[in-house]
């Protein structure tokens, strides 16, 4: 009898941890599911009821991700043009045609004003921005206080919409309306 009891006790004892372990796992799975669902509902409510979180998720995260995936083939330099417009293309062209130590006489405001502002060439009036794209070349502006003393040292003239040839000592016969010409 006692031998039988002992055996049965041992069997019970062996079963107990297994039962409690499986109960524990089951409880954890249920708890995980419930709390995860609560979390998702909270995140969803936050996103749908707050303009900041909606902007963060829909625009910053999802829209940007889709945009980058869709446009990853676009070369890096073309992305600059997309961001900074046609004025960047003009400056990139000047950069390509001039050496690093070039001092470039930039188009006068009057020349830039002739073109419809919708094309965005007014950006070329911004001396710091032009320096950013041309550096280490330096753009020189006719009316700028800091550039005035350096104007006679200009080594190139930026031709814009056909203007600028007056500053070129020996202008070429074939006048490209958008280019840069070496003068020294």
């Amino acid at each position: 009898m006692s031998k039988k009891n002992n055996k049965s006790n041992r069997t019970e004892a062996a079963k107990l941890p297994a039962k409690s372990t499986s109960d524990g796992v089951f409880l954890r799975v249920i708890s995980n599911t419930i709390i995860a669902l609560i979390l998702i509902v909270v995140l969803y409510i936050g996103k749908t009821n707050n303009v900041g979180y909606a902007f963060m998720w829909d625009t910053l995260v999802k829209q940007n991700y889709a945009m980058v995936k869709e446009n990853s083939h676009i070369p890096y330099l073309d992305r600059n043009e997309q961001r900074h417009g046609v004025s960047y293309k003009y400056l990139a062209d000047i950069k390509k045609q001039t050496p690093e130590d070039a001092l470039i006489l930039m188009p006068a405001d009057s020349s830039l004003n002739k073109v419809d502002p919708k094309y965005g060439f007014n950006e070329l009036k911004n001396r710091t921005k032009a320096t950013f794209f041309l550096y280490p070349r330096k753009p020189l502006y006719r009316t700028d206080t800091f550039d005035r003393a350096m104007l006679p040292k200009a080594t190139y003239v930026a031709i814009f919409s056909g203007d600028g040839y007056a500053d070129v000592p020996n202008p070429p016969a074939d006048r490209n309306p958008f280019t840069v010409i070496k003068i020294k």
Partner: protein, 464 residues
């Protein structure tokens, strides 16, 4: 060259993190190393140039290599083991990454996707932020090309006022340019990824993995912070360094036997002060806490305090000295003068501007509203449970926020108005404050207890 340069930055940061923390987790190494390495490298670049030498990638790399050997040698001498070995001894996933559960998985999954998407965006676009084009990025190009801080763009007045900012950020971009990187935005990715990983890793030291993962998701989801983190300007990185300095200090408060986190906090604070001068607003409450732990609880010695304050303050101080030495050239770029006597006349206006900015949910989501609730909970935790961390974390947020308002109130601007500054830059001032608001929410006694309950309910019990 690009990868070698980045790897050297990582190794330098790694050697410092190892030396300070003795046995950091893998995530602490991965998160903190590049940010700290970059902080030290830019400080070296600055010192070299201040001493009259030119800044070049080779000089930076050689000095970095010497420092790596020095810090690794010190580690070996102190702990009699090779750096890195301690982290991988008896390596366990739970100890290094936290105990996983479904909530953890969802939070980590969302965080990873947010960071990945923003990193893609940062690397896709070239520089376009006005402040970067007119100040930080253009200045970095000139430093990289001419090898000096006082360069031709400064003499010819071709840069904006950002050149008077402490130079960690511009020197960091200059370093990347010297290595051959084409897109300066790579620095934004360094800080964004580094921040998310470090925040989670450090938080794991003061809470459980469920809480750490949830609050990491919350901080990377602060809408305006995330929006600006992919733009190469200084506000995001400054918020990253300063908030991590506070979290690291809290790790020390929770585990006082490991003074490494106390010193790590000082190093992060030093980096923060070397990126924007307003970091004094974060230094002030942390220095006060140091004084408290020296004199009130005597858990820090005076030597510890001197070490902390010296490390935290030194780069900021040396930059101010650099500006003073070069005042004739740099003065025209310093936009702000501070009024000595209190300026009560505009306080109401500054308060309204600051209040309206921080209460804008479009910028910070639910952060401020939840923090306001937690203020009451923290007072209750302090009164009922004598929990100091709850009250420290709230007090730091309030001090930094009010500090910003006082700072703006006392500013005399040379070429701008207070309205403009707060309207256009105000939302960027509060990135660090709002990150710390989430830290205050997470470290509140009752919130931490609730997360402890949730975590024990959904995570596998730890094997004894």
């Amino acid at each position: 060259m690009l990868l070698i340069g980045l790897f050297v930055t990582f190794l330098l940061g790694f050697s410092v993190v190892q030396l300070l923390l003795k046995k950091p987790t893998l995530l602490e190494i991965l998160g903190l190393s590049v940010m700290i390495g970059l902080g030290i490298q830019t400080f070296v670049m600055f010192l070299l140039n201040f001493a009259g030498m030119n800044i070049s990638s080779s000089s930076t790399l050689i000095i970095s290599a010497v420092l790596i050997l020095l810090f690794s040698g010190l580690y070996f001498w102190q702990y009699k083991t090779i750096p890195g070995v301690a982290t991988f001894e008896n390596f366990s996933f739970t100890a290094n990454f936290g105990a996983p559960n479904l909530v953890w998985l969802i939070c980590i999954g969302f965080t990873a996707f947010i960071i990945y998407s923003m990193s893609l965006k940062a690397l896709f676009w070239p520089t376009y932020a006005t402040d970067a084009i007119t100040s930080f990025d253009i200045y970095a190009k000139a430093i990289a090309h001419e090898g000096k801080l006082i360069n031709s763009l400064i003499f010819e007045h071709r840069v904006g006022p950002g050149v008077a900012y402490p130079p960690l950020y511009t020197l960091g971009v200059a370093y990347f340019y010297q290595l051959g990187f084409e897109n300066a935005n790579v620095i934004s990715v360094v800080f964004l990824v580094g921040f998310a990983v470090s925040f989670y890793a450090l938080f794991l030291r003061i809470s459980n993995s469920t809480s750490a993962a949830f609050f990491t998701l919350m901080v990377v989801s602060i809408p305006e912070f995330l929006a600006q983190s992919a733009v190469n300007i200084t506000s995001g990185p400054q918020a990253v360094y300063s908030s991590l300095a506070v979290v690291s200090f809290f790790v020390w408060i929770k585990n006082k036997e490991n003074k490494g986190y106390f010193l790590l906090s000082a190093v992060l604070l030093a980096c923060s002060g070397f990126i924007r001068s307003e970091d004094i607003l974060y230094m002030a409450p942390l220095f006060l806490l140091v004084v408290y732990y020296i004199f009130a609880t005597k858990e820090l010695s005076i030597v510890d305090g001197v070490k902390y304050i010296t490390i935290g303050f030194l780069p900021f101080f040396l930059w101010q000295l650099f500006l003073k030495v070069n005042i004739a050239i740099m003065d025209k770029y310093v936009q702000v003068e501070m009024m000595g006597s209190p300026n009560f006349a505009q306080w109401r206006k500054v308060w309204d501007l600051g209040y309206n900015t921080i209460m804008t949910t479009q910028y910070y989501g639910a952060t401020v509203y939840l923090f306001l609730i937690v203020i009451l909970a923290s007072i209750a935790a302090f009164v009922i449970k004598k929990d100091k961390l709850s009250i420290w974390s709230v007090a730091i947020v309030i001090m930094v926020f009010l500090g910003y308002l006082v700072l703006v109130n006392q500013m005399k601007l040379r070429e701008d108005t207070i309205d403009n500054i707060v309207s256009f830059s105000g939302k960027r001032f509060f990135f660090g404050v709002t990150i710390l608001m989430w830290v205050a929410i997470a470290t509140n006694y009752f919130v931490a207890a609730a997360f402890e309950k949730i975590h024990s309910l959904i995570s596998k019990p730890e094997q004894k």
